[in-house]
Amino acid sequence: MPNQEEIYSKVSATLMEALNVDEEEIKPTSTLQGDLGAESIDFLDIVFRLEREFGIKIPRGELFPESIFQGDPEFVQNGKVTEKGLSELRARMPYADLREFEKNPEIRAISDLFTVDMITRYIQGKLGEPSNN
């Protein structure tokens, strides 16, 4: 199984192709939308490329959950993610780093959770699953 550094470098290469960005623009903490300019259709492209690159299957909505809360008031109130919403996020995206987000969980900042590091951790977890070895 490749180590974290190898996964990171493959993830970077994948993002360079999918988003047409230069290597120096990509940092572990880069957000896909804010820093790297990803648009919605790019997420599907990234998923396809990761599947090919790592030989894994990424079920729909697993890496990039779409509209997680669907405007459910239990999860979102006054533009902020509730405590219940946060635990839902932890369950749905265990590979995301929520520490910063939890300090000010505004729903519009949710796209900042999608970072290069997040993808790397997701792939690492995925490659560790018995079915992918």
Partner: protein
């Protein structure tokens, strides 16, 4: 406007690959303006032909029930211009196919000379967006694109 940029399919292997032909006629309108005295097929239209070849290829897999739209061209390279009187051969190969979309790799040749190549990314609207956001009617495969495959069958029957 007739927005159909391939003349006919030459080969069709369901869910795998397709080959189509496009003959460039000086009668096509755009040659008058692109460019006056120097007619060359616009690169965007070369890509459109490739996207139509690939789009029919991936749309046919689900019997044209999905609304297949060109979502993105991650990269494209053009090696030389295409001129009136030439025949373009479009070769499209499915690289990735999932319920939400597909990726097709395509090459465009004239007399075996590679003149352009690209990767084309298609989204299947109903599966990649909110359900029914685009309604029931399939506005992508409503007419001539779908009929192109019928033409293949007619010709195949004639030639046995």
């Amino acid at each position: 406007m007739r927005w159909i940029w391939i003349d006919r399919f030459l080969e069709f292997h369901r869910g795998k690959s397709a080959r189509a032909i496009k003959s460039l006629s000086m009668a096509e309108d755009y040659f008058g303006d692109h460019f006056p005295g120097y007619p060359v097929m616009p690169g965007t239209l070369i890509l459109e032909g490739l996207a139509q070849t690939g789009g029919v290829l991936v749309g046919e897999v689900n019997d044209f029930h999905e609304k297949v739209v060109l979502a993105k061209i991650p990269w494209a390279r053009f090696y030389r211009e295409a001129l009136p009187g030439e025949q373009l051969i479009y070769d499209a190969e499915v690289l990735h196919l999932r319920p939400e979309g597909a990726v097709v790799g395509g090459k465009v040749t004239v007399d075996d000379e590679l003149i352009a190549e690209a990767e084309v990314f298609f989204a299947f609207l109903d599966k990649s967006s909110s359900p029914q956001a685009f309604g029931d009617q399939n506005f992508v495969f409503s007419g001539e694109l779908k009929h192109l495959l019928g033409l293949v069958k007619v010709l195949a029957d004639r030639t046995g």
